[in-house]
Structures are given as C-alpha cells and as structure tokens.
C-alpha cells in the first residue's frame, strides 16, 4: 500500500505529511508550536482541553488540531487573533478553578499550566466565582492526588486504561463538578489501584505527584540520570532524579522496553539506596562480632583466607556465588576471578530461584 501524502500550509509554511496525519502533527513537522494538555501521542486522541485549537480556512469554529486530520490544500492559522483569544480564555478558565499555590507546588517548573500561562501572558483572577475545594488525598505512601489542581485532561484515565489496562479511574459527575475518581469516589488506596504511577507520569499539571520526590526537590534542582531498573528481568528504563548526590526519586523516561510505564517497585522502590541499613564500611567478624575495618584490612584478609584454603585444600574447596543483581561486567569479572585466580569452575548464582 502506498502512503499518500498531503500538502498543507500552517502559518504560511508549506508542509507535506502522510495521509491521516493530524494538523497538530503537521504543525510539529512544520516547526509551528501548538500548546496541548490532553494530547499524548501514546494515548487515544481525546480532544478535550481545546488548548490546541487552530483556525482553518473554510471550517467554522476553531477545531482542535490534535484530532483534526490534515487534508490537501488546507490553510491553517495556528496563531490568529481568534486562536489567541481562545487559548487565553481556556487558560483563564482553568486558572479560575485552580489553586494558585505555585510557590509551594511540587510540580512548579514542570507544569504545563504554568508554562502556558507564562507563554500567553495570562494573569489570574479573570473570573471570580466558585472554586473546588476537594480534600487532598494523601493516604498512601506513593502518590498525592490533589483534584483541585486537576484540569480534567483525562490523560490519567487513558493511561490507566490503555497503558496499565486497569481502568481504575474514570470521569464522574457532570459539568463543573466533573471529577476523575476511582469507582465510588474512594481514594486510590481503597481502590484496586496498583500504584504503578503511570497516571502520575502523564499528568501535565500538579494534580498527581510522586509523594516523596516532589517534597524532596524542586523540579529544577534535580539532575536526571537514565538507567535500568534493578528489580525484575523486564529491563525497564527510568530516570533517577538526583539532588545533592542523593537519589530523590524516579521518573519515567522513554524506555525501549517500557516506554513511560513502570510498576510500583520501579517507580517508588528506590528508597533502599539511602536506607540507614546500607553497609558503608567493610566488616570483619572477630569473636562472633562484626568490627569495622579498612578496605586494606578486609581485602587483605579475604585474599589471605582464600589463598590459604586454595593452598591447603585445593581449588575445588572454594566456591563462588555470583549475582543476578550485579552488572554483566561484575559477573564477568567474578567468573574470571573464580576460574583464573581461584582455579575452579564452582561459580553459580540464583538463576534457578
């Protein structure tokens, strides 16, 4: 099947895209920025936030570019006065029902609402009137849910259904009182939620936040280091968030295996790194009690004892357990050490367990 191409103009820039591409995708290709909240390339198209509206010649109203398919010869204006007015108004409407606590919000600095308000110069206070006052949901150790900050973009709903396949949260109530909740409006902890946090990963504002991470560091303070999860054999990638030489959290990156999806262990199971139980110094057992030792002492003793057994009983009186938790390099070195230095093939690990 041949892919037909479509040529259109966006802000007077001519761009050619494959048939079926949306105006938003075409704009991206043309280098024209269009703001979005509810759009996520990995999730089904939703068209709800209406931030990405554009003006298209011959089409009444301002269609949402994320769900409008580009057609041949289409003339799109992505920044016309009507578009600007619409986007500003949408932002004002969102801000009119949003706690303006950016000073203390953990998502500050990584919040689309904040970014776009800045971009469009939208001040707060355009509309007085009712604001929601939902209680903060803080009864689990993983996620803080503040529905007052929710802009109802529905990304979490779709992530739960389409990435995690669990559909724990859904829209409930109508109109202004619409809210995203687990069934029967219970807390996540009281639902069947597995706290994978994939909803947190897609939330564009501060409604869903990693509990510990967002209290440990401002978003701009952390350095992100992409690495591989140390738990099961799936090999999920994620970003370690580092502040002051400490791992303060885990966030999704775009992993080759997992995309942004993680499980509860990958996303929230990093606390062991700085746990006080960590071994921080070599220990030598003297009279049944561990005593702190220097590396030289400990290494020397190990070398001496292993050498002694080898000399006295032969290489096959020694055995080594390597680790399915350590790196390839370390496993390679340990088997090299076992075979070349200790002189035995008695090396194994718990592959069978």
């Amino acid at each position: 099947m041949t892919v037909t191409e479509i040529t259109l103009t966006i802000n007077d820039i001519t761009v050619t895209v494959p048939q079926g591409a949306t105006v938003l995708e075409a704009a991206h290709q043309a280098g024209v920025f269009i703001p979005t909240f509810c759009h996520d390339p990995e999730l089904t198209k939703f068209g709800a936030c209406r931030m990405c509206v554009v003006e298209i010649a011959g089409i009444r109203n301002l269609p949402a570019s994320c769900v409008t398919v580009a057609t041949e010869g289409m003339v799109v204006h992505a920044d016309s006065p009507a578009v600007q007015e619409a986007r500003k108004t949408v932002l004002e409407l969102m801000l009119a029902n949003h706690p303006l606590d950016c000073l203390t919000c953990g998502k500050s600095g990584d919040c689309r609402l904040q970014d776009y308000a800045y971009l469009y110069g939208v001040k707060t206070g355009s509309f007085e009137g009712e604001r929601h006052c939902y209680p903060l949901e803080d009864d689990n150790p993983f996620i803080v849910r503040d529905m007052n900050k929710c802009i109802l973009c529905g990304r979490c709903v779709r992530a739960c259904a389409e990435i995690q396949g669990n559909s724990i949260v859904e829209f409930t109530n109508r109109g202004f009182n619409a809210k995203i909740t687990p069934a029967m409006d219970v807390s996540l902890a009281a639902s069947d939620c597995v706290f994978c946090g994939n909803c947190v990963a897609v939330c564009p504002v501060g409604a869903l936040q990693e509990k510990r991470l967002r209290r440990a560091a401002r978003t701009w303070e952390v350095r992100k280091v992409k690495t591989t999860c140390p738990y099961c054999g799936t090999g999920c990638s994620f970003d370690l968030n580092v502040k002051d030489n400490k791992v303060v959290g885990v966030t999704s990156c775009d992993g080759d295996v997992n995309g942004r999806a993680l499980c509860v262990k990958g996303r929230f199971g990093y606390g062991f790194i700085h746990h006080p139980d960590r071994l921080t110094t070599p220990l030598i057992k003297k009279n049944g009690i561990f005593v702190k030792a220097t590396w030289d002492e400990a290494i020397g003793l190990v070398a001496q004892k292993l050498g002694q057994v080898k000399a006295q009983y032969g290489s096959d009186a020694l055995a080594v357990l390597s680790s399915a938790r350590c790196t390839n390099e370390e496993n390679y070195l340990l088997q090299k050490f076992t075979r070349a230095v200790l002189g035995t093939n008695s090396i194994d690990h718990c592959a069978r367990l």
């Binding site: 999806a261 993680l262 262990k265 071994l279 070599p282 190990v302 070398a303 718990c350 592959a351």
Partner: protein
Amino acid sequence: MTNSIAEIAGADFILAIGTNTTEAHPIISLKAKKAQRNGATLVVVDPRRTELAELANVHLQLKSGSDIALLNALAHVIIAEELWNNDFVAGRTEDFEAFKAIVAKYTPELAEQITGISAETIREVARGYARAQKATILYTMGITQHICGTHNVLAVANLAMLCGQIGKESSGVNPLRGQNNVQGSCDMGALPSVFTGYQAVTAYDQRAKFAKAWHVAELPARPGLTVGEMMDKAGTDELKGMYIMGENPVLSDPDSNHVVHALEKLDFLVVQDIFLTETAALADVVLPAASFAEKDGTFSNTERRVQRVRKAIDPVGNARPDWQIICAVSAAMGYPMQYATASDIFDEMALLTPTYAGISYARLEQGDIQWPCPNANHPGTTYLHKDKFLRGLGKFNPVEYIPPAEMPDAGYPLLLSTGRRYFHYHTGTMTQRTGALEVHYGTEYLEINQADAASLGIADGDMAQVSSRRGQVKIAARISKVVPQGLVFTSFHFPEVAINKLTNPAKDSLSKIPELKVCAVRVEKAS
C-alpha cells in the same frame, strides 16, 4: 525469550503457563493485556486464580505439577485432529515420530484425570493454539521450579515446534526471567559449566582461548558445583571457603535451615552486598558494595537486551562498586586486574563472546541492543530461531508426566506453593527498605481457601502455623478465592516469614532447580 517483550502485544494467542505476570512482571503483563484488548485470546494455566487468570479468556486451573500431562494432551489433540504444522515439523525438526508415540497415550481424558481440567477445554485450547496466526507461550518459575522443570520446558518447546509457533515475530517460547540481570549472569558465564556466551569449560579450544586472553597457563576443565551442590558439599566439609556476591541464599534457597548450617560450617565466608543480609550475617568478612545507582555497567534483560546502568551518585559511605572490589581482591591474590572503567571490562568480555561481539558502550548510547549481535554493524536480534535453530534442526524431546516429589498425605495434607507479590521483590532486601512499598504492604499472609480454613477452624486474619517436614513458620491467614481447596500460597519476600524453611530442596536432576512450587504442609491455627 525467543521473542521480544514488545512482540507479545502482537500475538493473537497467548498461552501463559506458570507465570503470575501481572505481579512478577508487571510491565510485560501490559503487553499481554494490550494483545487481549486487540482481540487476542489469553489462556492462563495456573493452579491459582491470579489477576491474569481472572483476565484470561480461559483459565486452566490445573493441579500443581501436572503441566506435562496438560502439554502432552494439547499436543495429542493437535496431532489427532491434524492441526499440526506439517511443513515446519518436516523441514525444521527431528524425532517427531518418537514424540508422537509418547503423546499418543496422553488423551484429553487421561489429562483430565491428572490435571483436573476438562477434556473438552483441553481440546478447545489445543485448537486455539494450533490455529492461531501468532501464538506465543509465556512461562516462568511455575514451569521450572519442579523436579521435572527441565521436562516441563521441553514439553513447552515440543508444543511450539509441533505447531510451528516459534521463530516468528510475536510467536515463540518465552521464559520471563525473574531478576534484573539473571540473563546477563548466565551470559557472562556465572555458571559452573560455561564461560561467557555459553562456551563450554569442557571444550579445550574454549579453555585455551580464555586462558590466553586472561594470561594464565590453564583453566579448570571440570564443571564446577551448582549452588545446591555447594551447600551440600559445605555441609559435608568438602567445601571450605565461599565468596558470595549480592546473593542471599539463606532466604532464597529451599530448606533454609540446611543452608544456614552449611554456611556456618565453612572455614571462611566472604559476602559482598549492599545490606547485611541474612547470609552476610554468617560471613567472616563483609564487603560493602555500591548499589545500581552508584556504578556504571550493563544489565541484560529477559529478552537478551543489553542495557546501560549509569552512575547517578557516588557510592554511599565507603562502599565500592562490586567490580572494583573484585579487582582489589584479585590484585591482592597476585593477579592484578586493571580496568579504568566498566566499559573496559565490557570490551574485554565482548572480544571473547561471539554473541556480544558487536556491542559496545558507544553503541549502547544510541539505544539498547539485543544479542546475538556478532559484529559492530549488526542491529541485534529481536527474535531467535528465524530460519533455523541454534543446533540446526529442532529436536523433539518426548517427556513423560511424573508427579511432584512430595505430595500431600495424612500428616501434611495441604500443598504449599510459593511465589512473588507485586509490591515486593525476591528476599525483600531492597523492597523492605524503601519507605514506601513496605509501608503499603507491610505484612505477608498465607492464602488459604475458604473450605480449608473452615475445616481447620481458621478465620481470616488468624495466625496460622505452617509446618513441613523441614521446618515451620507462623503467618497470618487470609481467606482467598485465589487458591483452590488443598493449596496454600505465600511469598518469600519477608524475612519474618522465611517460607523457605519449609520448601522442598528436591531438585530437577538436569537443571538443579529446586521444587519450590510444591511441597506438603500442615496448617494449624497458631495459639
């Protein structure tokens, strides 16, 4: 895995056997769920009604340890109804007739008696698997942790070959590895019989190659001891010294009491770990290691994907990366190992390992690579056995059903199975210390069926005493529909519930994997 994780989503028939995927491999389960949402048939074979079983189109709730009877019966139906892939069997395999002869007696009716699954259901599943465009089999320890574990795996492979459901995209035999780098540890030769890339220590040429590269005169030719054998030999004083890096056999191995006893008898034990584990507590010297966040390196995941581990922070305290510790010990023993970086080690390994030969840190910066990757221009391999098997023709290895080593009897009337929980991991060394996971899921429990609990006078939440011939533990009971009558289940994540005190160390004679999925126990209400 013969296929990649992503390919699971493209299958139209998934046979998940002995895998509690949503809990033990959550992200892989997402692919299976996605396939099902796209219309694939999901068949789950498990004695427990796990979350995945609940989702499944068909749940085959077989009796523990009866997998071969089921798998052979599936093959029986496929042969009897002439649904097998004639071209594949003729062109790509050998010894089909022997296989055919063995499975001939495994009628669905016979299998029904052994497995407890109705003959008609077996027929339906067999037809579904055989007729699927892309059928894939997922399995984990539910298949392997049996005394017939190797045979279970062979039975799975036989079924896949029979239908030609292997060597295709989204279609193959896919064991899901349980630990982040268990694949890599095997690939790296942390096994008693092979060097890196499964090059046999018994082969002279291989030994010579490694000896030359490592600048030693010769390398031992006789395969070494497996972990179980090590414990046995330590118990009998034949083994005098052990070096354990990042393992906790006291909790993870069957019959913990035996393991503790064995390790205590050693003349010298050095343990290198990030925590003072139950095993480290027995050591003469404990060496503090860096965690994954504190070092560079690579892991190889279950789909043979080589992935970078990157140093994010300095090691805590005086801890050091394991590789640096090994180098130091080696140097102290008169064999200096000089590596500036983990990348240097990888390069040395890749030179000696054909399957990794084309991989380097520089390439991994551009993205992960799945081995085999024989040269620097090779893109890596997403699925195996495309045109031929490693050994050439795929060999049918007919296997017979044997019951588990220890079955319930009057003294120990219930069957205990062990496995993992979603919120925890392995021996709990890490997940019990996160400040989050153990807060949410803080105590372990024993899943027990309502009928069993009632007959034992145990109510939900009661403390139960669980005993086997090898030991006993106390644990809270939770009445659950997940387990059928006669089966109890718990995890091995909690040191305070050291369930491996009870499990049976009876091993598969080939792989030496212990039968952790089946042992006979007695459950009583604890006073």
